[in-house]
């Protein structure tokens, strides 16, 4: 970019000093010297100020993105404690190799996967349904759209705290309702699947509206005449949805799947706040501890920065693998269409 500015500046340089003086000519008069100085400045300005303009992003990125990333990598090769972060002792790849037989890590990985599936699949299906309904002409449609987005605008903390109360064992509203229809109370905290379902429900509640709005926007971009011709061919509403809406939404669906997958692999706040013990172990038997939560527990509760860094990088690697798989699937989908 800078070089292009440079070349763009050249004509103006020539223009600013008409009748260029030859190099060996008599002492330059004041005006000429001033002009030359100006022109040098102008040149430097053209060369460097674009960098200055983009520098804030890069400075911020280096300070808060790149440096922590690299430092985490460096720390992951050491035994470091939060009590003395500068006092590192080299352990090589030990922090990585130990992950292979760290049952808590794999438990967390499994929980992340299952919570991710329980949360993402229904979430996207519901979002699709809601978007489809909102796509019809409705009274007060803006109201519904805003209402859909309201959970997204709520903080995770307050939402999770309310869900903790709803899912309480003795005084929770959900168990009270279950009791009403004659079902025994469910231990939403202590048992594995109920607790994962409960955590997932917070995620579903929070993100469904967001995805619905994305679907809705994409639906509204589908040309109306496609539906008209489908209707002329005698396609029912359901057939129209299957054969017109869904194929047109394919790139959007792909986008939401990718974003939700990334979000699901980083789930942290919901399980942390859902834990009645306010600990980071994700329940008494780690039944809903996700990878993000395990990372936090190792780093901040147990103060093992080296181990936590290794977990972070392993998560990163797993995410990259997921990203590649996503890419492959989407390429195949695109090819088949």
């Amino acid at each position: 970019m800078a070089t292009r500015h440079d070349t763009a500046a050249l004509p103006s340089k020539g223009g600013a000093a008409p009748g260029r003086p030859s190099k060996g000519s008599a002492p330059m008069d004041k005006d000429q010297r001033r002009r030359a100085k100006l022109s040098r400045r102008w040149q430097r300005d053209m060369r460097w100020s674009p960098y200055a303009f983009v520098s804030p992003f890069f400075l911020l990125f280096i300070a808060f993105g790149l440096f922590p990333l690299l430092y985490t990598g460096w720390a992951s090769l050491h035994q470091v404690e939060l009590t003395a972060p500068t006092d590192m002792s080299w352990v090589g790849l030990k922090n990585y190799t130990r992950i292979f037989d760290d049952e808590f890590f794999w438990n967390a990985a499994q929980n992340t996967l299952t919570i991710g599936i329980i949360a993402t699949v229904p979430q996207l299906l519901i979002a699709m349904g809601i978007a489809h309904i909102l796509n019809y002409k409705l009274r007060a449609s803006t109201f519904y759209r805003v209402a859909m987005l309201a959970p997204y605008a709520t903080s995770i903390a307050s939402a999770s705290l309310v869900f903790v109360l709803l899912f309480g064992y003795d005084y929770g509203m959900i168990n009270w309702a279950l009791d009403f229809v004659g079902i025994d109370p469910v231990d939403w905290q202590g048992e594995k699947w109920p607790s994962q379902f409960a955590v997932s429900s917070i995620i579903i509640w929070r993100w469904t509206g967001y995805n619905a709005l994305i679907y809705l926007a994409a639906m509204q971009a589908i040309p109306q005449d496609l539906y008209e011709s489908a209707a002329l061919d005698g396609a029912s509403r359901w057939k129209q949805f299957i054969h017109v809406t869904l194929p047109s939404l394919r790139p959007t669906i792909l986008f939401t799947v990718v974003v939700s997958t990334i979000g699901a692999s980083q789930v942290f706040g919901e399980p942390l706040l859902f834990d009645a013990n306010k600990g980071a172990s994700g329940g008494a038997e780690h039944q809903f501890q996700t990878l993000g939560l395990y990372l936090y527990e190792q780093g901040w509760v147990n103060q093992h920065l080296g181990r936590a860094s290794a977990i972070a990088w392993t998560m990163f690697a797993i995410l990259i693998v997921i990203g590649i798989i996503n890419q492959l699937i989407s390429r195949r989908l695109r090819a088949s269409s």
């Binding site: 400045r41 300005d45 009590t83 808590f104 309480g168 064992y169 202590g190 008494a284 038997e285 780690h286």
Partner: protein, 452 residues
């Protein structure tokens, strides 16, 4: 989610005065750059310019606290400022120690952003003494500080092996048993505090036996005790050694006292004597409001918790009896980091705030029990009463308990170990797991958490 950065697709078009533009560019870069640096450097410090005096020329002492110390509420800052007109005190309070302590550690290890006075919770004092002592001033050498003023074990907790004291004790938590007189009466148990104390004097097993008697009469409506964590904590805190031995080795798995405390709590859980609750959680709060349990291990500050969570009609229905064995639960220290701006003045302030007279005043307002026996004879303590316990002389009961607390060996990771035994251990027994399974889950979790 990450913010996406848009590509800079537009190029600058010509026009405008170059010098002015350049000046603008430099100004932008400089201001953004300094903003960035300031953002890094100025965390925690209340005044960015580094001066410690305000416009009136007063020396400002900053206090970094967590929770509710109550100095301001008890008017102690105002009193000190009156005594020392050129001092101004400013406090910064973080609500939960879980959030305060990691930040304090960060500030200590980087030696920046520290306040003149920093509070340290008892759960962290061993770690601070062990790893951060060189960052703190030796308070034993401060003016007007006499070791003999404090309870011996309190002083020792904050003192390194070579005799440096990193912080002065504020309050302690001598533990008694708070019990509901009305529920005890219904269950056919005595209600007088001396007789209740005799039921289990000297032996936690007798406490469980009393619980069984209680359950026979009371049935399933109410529980004998509030939570497995509360019981485990109470038993453990009356031991001389729990998780570490005197040389600093982790011995929690081999220490018979820990296993005995765990098994006793598990037994109580299996017999349905304790609620399946975790202390200080909303559901546990609800059981206070609904009068669902008859006893709770009870340092003075617990009465404040009970009062805050109870219905009004519970006032006066509680009483305090001596625990089977005395232990300590809670308490804090005030330390002065060496890198503070007003080390001398801060030391004087800390010495004053932790002196017996001030601790007695604080007890009256805040219920934080003094760590200085000299305060136990003061009218504030001897005449103390609590709304929840009616006319009971709680000050005398707690003073007596405080004097009998053993000098306990504490270690840097006590909190992690105890949390593991509670949240990943005994609570499982209340949910139907066997004591053996619970112990295995707990020890596996703890070992993984301790492993560096």
């Amino acid at each position: 989610m990450r913010a996406r950065t848009l590509p800079l697709s537009r190029q600058r078009s010509g026009g405008g005065k170059p010098i002015a533009r350049k000046a603008l560019a430099i100004a932008a870069v400089v201001s953004l750059g300094t903003g960035l640096l300031a953002g890094c450097a100025d965390d925690g410090g209340s005044d960015g310019d580094g001066s410690s005096s305000d416009s009136e020329g007063k020396t400002k002492i900053t206090m970094g606290l967590f929770g509710t110390f109550g100095y301001e509420e008890a008017g102690l800052y105002a009193e000190y400022e009156k005594l020392n007109p050129d001092i101004k005190i400013e406090q910064t309070v973080v609500e939960r120690n879980e959030n305060y302590y990691p930040a304090l550690l960060n500030h200590l290890t980087t030696n920046s952003g520290l306040m003149d006075v920093q509070a340290i919770e008892i759960a962290n004092i061993a770690e601070v003494v062990g790893t951060q002592a060189d960052k703190f001033v030796d308070m034993s050498k401060a003016e007007g500080v006499d070791k003999k003023n404090w309870l011996e074990w309190k002083w020792e907790q904050a003192t390194t092996k070579d005799g440096q004291t990193v912080g002065l004790g504020t309050d302690v938590g001598p533990m008694a048993i708070c019990y509901r007189k009305d529920l005890f009466e219904k269950a056919g148990l005595p209600t007088d505090r001396a007789e209740v104390g005799k039921l289990w004097a000297g032996d936690w097993n007798k406490f469980i036996e009393t619980g069984e008697k209680y359950k026979k009469k009371a049935g399933d409506d109410t529980f004998f005790m509030d939570s497995p964590g509360g019981l485990l904590n109470a038993v453990l805190s009356s031991e001389k050694e729990k998780f570490y031995d005197a040389s600093g080795e982790v011995i929690y798995k081999s220490n018979p006292a820990v296993k005995a405390a765990f098994d006793l709590t598990a037994e109580a859980a299996e017999k349905g004597l304790v609620q399946s609750q975790t202390q200080f959680q909303p559901a546990w709060d609800t059981t206070i409001a609904n009068s669902k349990f008859a006893t709770v291990a009870c340092p003075p500050w617990m009465l404040g918790t009970i009062k805050a969570k109870s219905q009004p009609d519970a006032a006066g229905k509680w009483d305090v009896a001596v625990a089977p064995k005395s232990g300590n639960w809670g308490g804090s220290f005030l330390g002065v980091p060496k890198s503070g701006k007003n080390v001398e003045e801060a030391q004087k302030l800390v010495a004053w705030l932790t002196a017996p007279e001030q601790q007695a005043k604080l007890f009256k307002v805040q219920g934080s029990f003094p760590s200085t026996p000299g305060a136990y004879d003061s009218p504030e303590v001897t005449g103390a009463k609590n709304e929840m316990t009616g006319d009971s002389p709680i000050g005398e009961i707690f003073s007596e308990a405080a004097k009998q607390i053993p000098v306990q060996v504490i270690g840097p990771k006590d909190q992690i170990i105890q949390q593991g035994l509670t949240d990943n251990g005994v609570i499982l027994v209340t949910k139907g797991k066997s004591a053996k399974e619970a112990w295995e889950t707990a020890t596996k979790t703890i070992d993984n958490n301790l492993d560096k």
